[in-house]
Symmetry: C2
Subunit: 113 residues, 2 copies
DNA sequence: ATAACATGCAACCAAATGGTTGTAGATGTT
DNA sequence: AACATCTACAACCATTTGGTTGCATGTTAT
């Protein structure tokens, strides 16, 4: 299973940034396990509805989640491929460590645009 | 190879946050490939020395990097175990997606304190 | 001893983040 | 039609972030 879609620096920034918040990680977990409406999610956290909605928007921007309209609800679903891309990035760091990367610039290129 | 050191929510926040910046990811790459002094690193980027020093401090706080004093220099080295912990976290998300986690609370507990 | 170099840290600044409340538009229910 | 529910978004606010410059300290070389 190859997950090799090139991500821009900015996209990688957004990806890790989105994961750098416990509430957002929790939303990712729940929506990977199964879709949930924004208001369903909102009931789970001790903050305003708008705050949860913002977190979902951040996750959308990082492409960790999609929203699908169903009636008046928006069903939020986690995108496993994006998790896999994050894994692929971390893998490349591990490979550097293991000395498996001869040309370091090859790796740099991987992340450019 | 088991990498299962429990990380607090705050530690995970710091870990992903530290990775959410292209300059810092670059520093991690370089220092995983081999140690480098702070000033060596600083010459590589188009920003002040102090800015680079701050980035290194953020990486230290996330335990992605250590500094070892050698004379007047501080040799910065990447910590591969911390990359592996990030991988382990992402793995757990993938497993949720694959439906391998029956009790979701078991995973929550994993990240709590 | 003096000069040069590597580092650490404080003070400052603009922009982004994470939260709030309030208003408004769609959709569903009675 | 009237009402309730789900969502979107703007305006506002305190804090954090990512950068700067300037100054102080420790180490190496002349």
């Amino acid at each position: 299973m190859v997950v090799d879609v090139e991500l821009s620096d900015a996209a990688v920034d957004r990806l890790f940034r989105a994961l750098a918040d416990a509430t957002r990680r929790d939303i990712v977990r729940r929506t990977l396990a199964g879709g949930a409406s924004v208001s369903e999610l909102a009931t789970a956290y001790d903050m305003s509805w708008a705050a949860v909605q913002k977190h979902v928007a951040v996750l959308e921007g990082a492409e960790l989640v999609t929203k699908e309209a169903r009636g008046r609800e928006r069903i939020v679903r986690g995108i496993p491929q994006q998790i896999q891309r994050a894994q692929a990035l971390l893998d490349s760091y591990e490979q550097i460590w293991r000395g498996r990367v001869q040309r370091l610039d090859a790796l740099f290129a991987e992340e450019d645009n």
